[in-house]
């Protein structure tokens, strides 16, 4: 079933919207949840929460791209769930590793740095992503949006792990420079 037809089911409050969503996008959402939570049961619950959130969001929303729309919901839910686990001291290991890497992008505190809201930050990230060559952008997104392990990215792009790490290092440096040039503090 086409995504637009699935969205129509949501708008018609037809419960088969959930099963059609699960059939078409379930694996994708599970991938996102699993690579943040690293636990099958938690991931499954997170994906079910995604369907519930989608049911609540449509209407009013009518996403043009249903996959990324669901992916964003899953990612947020999984990150929030992970935060809660960390608060309870029962977290897992992958996200902190990516956070360590992202820390390198953050410019040193500066008096001239201006605090920006989330929307402005997302717009700056869009500009940064648009400036990257397509393949490097995909690798950056695989690591920091999907939180995929470097080994997995290397296999998918037929590259050595060291080459992937080098691409990510250069991208992080570019992002840091852009944040610095724009005088943006985080």
């Amino acid at each position: 079933m086409e995504d637009l037809e699935i969205v129509d089911l949501y708008w018609a409050r037809d419960e088969s919207a959930i099963s059609e969503t699960a059939r078409k996008h379930g694996a994708y959402c599970r991938y996102i949840a699993y690579h943040i939570l690293w636990n099958e049961e938690d991931s499954e619950e997170c994906v079910n929460d995604t369907y519930l959130s989608a049911w609540r969001a449509m209407p009013d929303q009518r996403p043009a791209r249903l996959g990324p729309f669901l992916g964003k919901i899953t990612r947020n839910l999984a990150l929030n769930r992970r935060e809660a686990y960390h608060a309870e001291k029962r977290g897992h290991g992958q996200t902190p590793l990516a956070l360590d890497e992202l820390r390198e992008c953050v410019p040193a505190p500066d008096q001239t740095a201006q605090a920006v809201d989330d929307l402005a930050l997302a717009q700056l990230l869009n500009r940064f992503l648009a400036s990257l060559p397509r393949e490097k952008r995909k690798i950056f997104m695989r690591r920091y949006w999907y939180l995929s392990p470097v080994k997995e990215i290397a296999a998918d792009y037929s590259m050595s792990e060291s080459k992937v790490k080098m691409i990510l290092l250069r991208a992080r440096k570019s992002l840091k420079q852009l944040l610095k040039d724009e005088g943006i503090g985080l």
Binding site: K72, L79, G93, L99, L102, C105
Partner: protein, 291 residues
């Protein structure tokens, strides 16, 4: 923490960037006497691990196997190809017998029975095209391949496409005349799609395809007992105390009816990687985990 803010802010970027990078499809019982044979099968597993390294040294026609492949695919990353060789792709060695996949279009198989002194060559004319993401593509470039023999005549060849959206197409060919001719057989592709991490056959009928864990912890293994006509998921029982690991099966290896299936187990807290093994005494019909 500002890096955390960055992580969350990334969640709000343009959906086209999320879409183009999407990895997923928008889409034991210990048998009696097993211990005494354990050394043999572990040696078999170890042989797989050193296969790639040995292949790099197995010079033929004056150049190494890696150079053959780089010449066939000049735009490939040699470091990645070396990783594939280290993982047992592209080449098979057993005593003086060597088989090498040269990923030209069509694919060429080089065979030697005297440790690389002399070579014979077969060309798989049928390998020129491949069904990929729902359409037939001519002059397909294969990104990986597994080749092996069980006995002098019977052998298998698994060719793989590149990876896109956790999707990797494959073709399987079998030979019953020592690699002179190859016949294509079915794959699990119509039932299951993921990224291949290994392949192997114990006979002309029994074969295995290994896939990377994706939606769950794995191991994700599909097998056939009728020469590839039908495929089903292999149910594997791993120990209870490894519940927090993810499993990536590699290529199984066989010595007659005895087989060993190496499976990489990875935990994330603590970050730790090890290899566990499944063993078979009946050519892969049944497997058991041996701690």
């Amino acid at each position: 923490m500002s890096e955390k803010r960055l992580l969350y802010a990334l969640g709000q970027v343009d959906e086209s960037y999320i879409e183009e990078a999407a990895p997923g499809g928008f889409p034991q019982e210990r048998a009696k006497g097993a211990g005494s044979r354990r050394g043999v099968v572990i040696a078999l597993a170890a042989a797989i691990m050193v296969l790639g390294a040995a292949a790099a040294l197995a010079a033929g026609r004056g150049i190494s196997v890696l150079e053959w492949i780089v010449r066939a695919q000049p735009d490939s990353d040699p470091a990645y190809l070396q990783t594939q060789l280290d993982n047992g792709q592209w080449v098979y060695m057993d005593g003086d017998n060597i088989a090498v996949i040269v990923p030209e279009s069509p694919v060429k198989i080089l065979l030697s029975a005297d440790a690389g002194e002399t070579w014979r060559e077969t060309v798989l004319v049928e390998s020129k095209g491949m069904e990929y993401l729902g359409e037939w593509r001519e002059n397909m470039r294969y990104h990986g391949g597994y080749i092996g023999f069980n006995g002098k005549e019977s052998g298998y060849l698994v060719l793989t496409s590149g990876v896109s959206m956790n999707h990797q197409a494959l073709r399987i060919f079998l030979t019953s005349d020592g690699g002179e001719t190859w016949q294509e057989t079915d794959t699990p592709y119509s039932q299951h799609v993921s990224v291949l991490t290994g392949a192997g056959f114990s006979s002309e009928n029994i074969g295995f395809i290994s896939y990377r864990y994706y939606e769950d912890a794995g191991p994700d293994i599909w097998w056939t007992s009728d020469g590839g006509e039908t495929w089903s998921k292999l149910e594997v029982e791993l120990p209870e105390d490894m519940k927090r690991y993810n499993f990536t099966p590699q290529s199984p290896s066989f010595d007659g009816l005895r087989g060993v299936y190496p499976i990489v187990a990875m935990s994330h807290e603590p970050e730790y990687e090890t290899t566990v093994y499944l063993y078979s005494d009946d050519g892969g019909l049944t497997w058991r985990f041996d701690s």
